[in-house]
């Protein structure tokens, strides 16, 4: 076939036919049956941000309580629930899901595909996540919220010290969110390995895809640990097993090992997608390709591997053998190498480029500063003597807020400013963006920097109040004032979203002149994402070819079809059917929810709950009968003539 430019008429015709094939149904049915990754991704992001704001409100309550000594605002029991819910929501309902949510939206677009690899599974994952999050928040509002912190150590979380159902709800929330996270991870692995645009070889893959690939494998290997741990916990609490009871041959340390075998990789599961986002923002706003691309990819892989070798640094205070401690100290310090390498590459890219300091890049600069500070205290905490000294103090609280807010939330905000125009068709206001950034940056440091000092002078974490005269009063007051500034920043952000959605500058396809495939389609993208299958000839597809995108035709137009390519070279291989809208994922998620919540109260719910679940799965997997399908197709063909 000889290469030729497509004509406007044939594109219009194609557009109409693709729209007929790929459009989601309208009305309530459309809402409940949607499998479009953009619709699910958007919901996922919005839901994640709602949980972020809810957890933020809890943080404000804690700061209000701690602003002055012996404050009577919140009692100890309520305070326990509030800090547990804050951590739980931030980690399980915001940080991990929001990164996967962004990936659900962006990865298919970056791959040049029409939908995510498993559209129905994707919808199912979202519903399970939503129901799990709703469950734990409803429980919290009914005064049965978790009370033993976000890592719920036994024996505190065991049947003896945490009677009632509070910890059971927490343990089951874990199950919900891990199921949701795992289904997204599997989809992304399949998508990134098998559904990249023709020509997007592994060595040309955008760094966000690399980051999500590594992250997804980490999810696959890390999440089962916490599911196992929480299943042991709930069975200790519900049916009298003794996994964590030392009096009966169990061991509380088993919980810590299993939890942190998940918990430490989780930090990188949150952080690696953010690194991918940062690379895209840096490239776009520096107007040059990323420096040392192969080293960046290797650094992501190294982060992924090393992240599994550090979990014991959370357990230095448990009295493990010294040799083990030394190993985990060195592993913990070692992970600074790939992280540092990436920081240097970004700085060099910005340095060597022609940076335009728009809001996304501001957030990246904020990320670099804050994350480096957090990384430095991380290296300090990796040393056993120092760790023992500041274990469970506000120093640790300061450290992980620096790495998590600095390392993930700042890049996430940058990413929202960066990709918002793609998802909505309108740019966010730069002026409000700058206000958003500076109030967040200053507010963050005012809130969390004093916590380093508080920790060093001995303030333990998770206390609901403290006596006057310990030298903690001033720093706590300053931290609380800083948190108000963060709240102001978040209000600015929401105002910016609302105003820009209505009156923001119209973005066009590629407002930032970025290079990724996602910018090659309209904003917001149509239901079918791309008119043709894009062909990639380099690492920065849109910076090549002078405004003309090489494409291929021939992937289904009147039926939902997806292209599979080979893993390494991304050569076109197979055209596979892609699933359409259906109610089954929602029904299966409802059945799953019934089973999970039921099993909080009775072990037999596992058995009886499995029956409706199996029924919905059978409905879901029922092969479409040839006669009905063929009849529909025949009818369509008739319509066409």
């Amino acid at each position: 076939m000889t290469a030729r430019l497509t004509s406007i008429e044939e594109e219009a015709d194609l557009r109409a036919r693709l729209e007929r094939t790929w459009a989601s149904p309208r009305g309530l049915r459309g809402v409940l049956t949607a499998v479009d990754h953009k619709i699910i991704g958007r919901r996922y992001v919005v839901t994640g941000m709602v949980f972020f704001f809810l957890a933020g409100v809890l943080a404000l309550l804690m700061r209000a309580q701690l602003a002055r000594p012996e404050s009577g605002l919140i009692g100890p029991d309520r305070y326990n629930q509030i800090f547990s819910m804050h951590g739980t929501t931030m980690m399980f309902l915001f940080a991990v899901p929001i990164m996967e949510a962004v990936a659900v939206y962006l990865v298919p677009l970056m791959c040049g595909a029409r939908n995510i690899s498993f559209p129905r599974l994707n919808a199912y994952g979202y519903w399970v996540y939503l129901f799990g999050g709703a469950m734990i928040w409803i429980a919290f509002l009914m005064n049965v919220g978790p009370e033993t912190g976000w890592f719920s150590y036994v024996p505190l979380a065991g049947p003896e010290f945490s009677p009632g159902k509070r910890t059971d709800f927490w343990a089951q929330m874990i199950t919900f969110t891990e199921v949701a996270a795992l289904v997204v991870a599997v989809q992304l692995v399949a998508m990134i390995l098998k559904q990249r645009a023709p020509g997007m070889t592994l060595s040309r893959m955008p760094l966000f895809l690399w980051a999500m690939l590594v992250t997804s494998f980490m999810v696959i290997f890390a999440m089962p640990a916490v599911m196992l741990a929480s299943s042991f916990l709930i069975s200790d609490r519900l049916i009298g097993t003794q996994f964590y009871n030392p009096a009966e041959g169990g061991d509380p340390l088993l919980w810590q090992h299993l939890f942190w075998f998940f918990g430490h990789p989780e930090v990188y599961i949150i952080f690696l997608p953010a690194l991918g986002m940062v690379s895209h923002i840096v490239t776009t706003f520096s107007r040059r390709t990323i420096l040392a691309y192969p080293a960046m990819v290797l650094a992501l892989l190294a982060n992924g591997f090393l992240a599994f070798g550090l979990w014991v640094h959370h357990m230095f205070a448990t009295g493990l053998p010294r040799l083990g401690n030394s190993f985990y100290t060195s592993a913990s310090i070692m992970i600074a190498i790939p992280s540092g390498l990436q920081i240097f590459a970004w700085i060099a890219t910005i340095w060597d480029g022609k940076p335009r300091f728009r809001t996304p890049l501001l957030f990246v600069i904020g990320f670099i500063i804050i994350f480096v500070l957090g990384g430095l205290t991380g290296v300090m905490l990796a040393a056993v003597p120092l760790d023992l000294q500041v274990h469970d103090t506000y120093f640790v609280v300061a450290h992980f807020h620096y790495v998590l807010i600095g390392g993930a939330v700042f890049p996430l905000f940058g990413a929202i400013y960066f990709w918002f125009p793609k998802a909505t068709g309108r740019l966010l206001s730069e002026r409000l963006g700058a206000w958003n950034f500076w109030t967040f940056f200053v507010g963050f440091n005012v809130t969390f920097f004093p916590m380093h000092l508080l920790g060093l002078i001995g303030m333990p974490r998770r206390i609901y109040t403290y006596k006057a005269g310990l030298g903690w009063d001033l720093w706590n007051l300053i931290a609380s004032l800083g948190s108000v500034l963060i709240a102001v920043s978040m209000v600015v952000f929401v105002v910016n979203l609302v105003i820009s959605l209505r009156r923001g500058q119209v973005a066009g396809d590629n407002p930032w002149e970025a290079s990724g495939l996602e910018w090659a389609t309209s904003s917001p993208p149509p239901s079918y994402n791309f008119l043709y299958t894009p062909v990639v000839t380099g690492r920065e597809p849109l910076w090549e070819g002078e405004g003309v995108l090489p494409v291929m035709g021939g992937v289904g137009v009147d039926q939902r079809q997806a292209l599979c390519t080979t893993i390494v070279e991304a050569e076109p291989d197979v055209r596979q059917p892609s699933a359409g809208p259906t109610l089954w994922p929602l029904l299966a998620a409802v059945a799953t929810t019934g089973l999970f919540i039921g099993s909080i109260f009775h072990e037999w719910a596992l058995v009886w709950g499995a029956i409706p679940l199996a029924a919905t799965l059978v409905g879901w997997f029922w092969p479409p009968g040839p006669t009905r399908r063929q009849a529909a197709r025949a009818a369509l063909a008739e319509e066409g003539t």
């Binding site: 076939m1 290469a3 030729r4 430019l5 497509t6 690899s117 498993f118 599974l121 795992l182 599997v186 989809q187 692995v189 399949a190 098998k194 559904q195 023709p198 696959i220 290997f221 999440m223 089962p224 640990a225 599911m227 196992l228 042991f232 996994f243 030392p246 009966e248 041959g249 169990g250 061991d251 088993l254 090992h257 299993l258 075998f261 389609t521 299958t533 062909v535 070819g545 003309v548 995108l549 090489p550 494409v551 291929m552 035709g553 021939g554 079809q561 997806a562 292209l563 599979c564 076109p572 291989d573 197979v574 055209r575 596979q576 059917p577 092969p623 479409p624 040839p626 399908r629 063929q630």
Partner: protein, 101 residues
Amino acid sequence: MTRHRLVGDLSDLPDHAFGSRSLMWWAVVGFMLIEGAGFLLAGGAYFFLVGHVQPWPPGQVPPGLTWGATFTVLALLSEIPNAWTKARPRPLATGPRARDW
């Protein structure tokens, strides 16, 4: 608006494939990895706890083998439909039905 230059046509590609060429294969491998990781860690937990009590298993009589054995037999039997399905698609691969999957 992006302009497009058609450089190839994919309509000759097959509309189904088996093994690692199929997307489904990757999903199944993904879930096997998840389950494998779970089993591996459960095994790890066993070895973590086994040294704590002498003799093992601790305390009372271990649970009966009926349910465990039933489960194992069912799991083994579930291979029959798998093998049956695996044997089926090839003769159908060119027919209309295979495409509909």
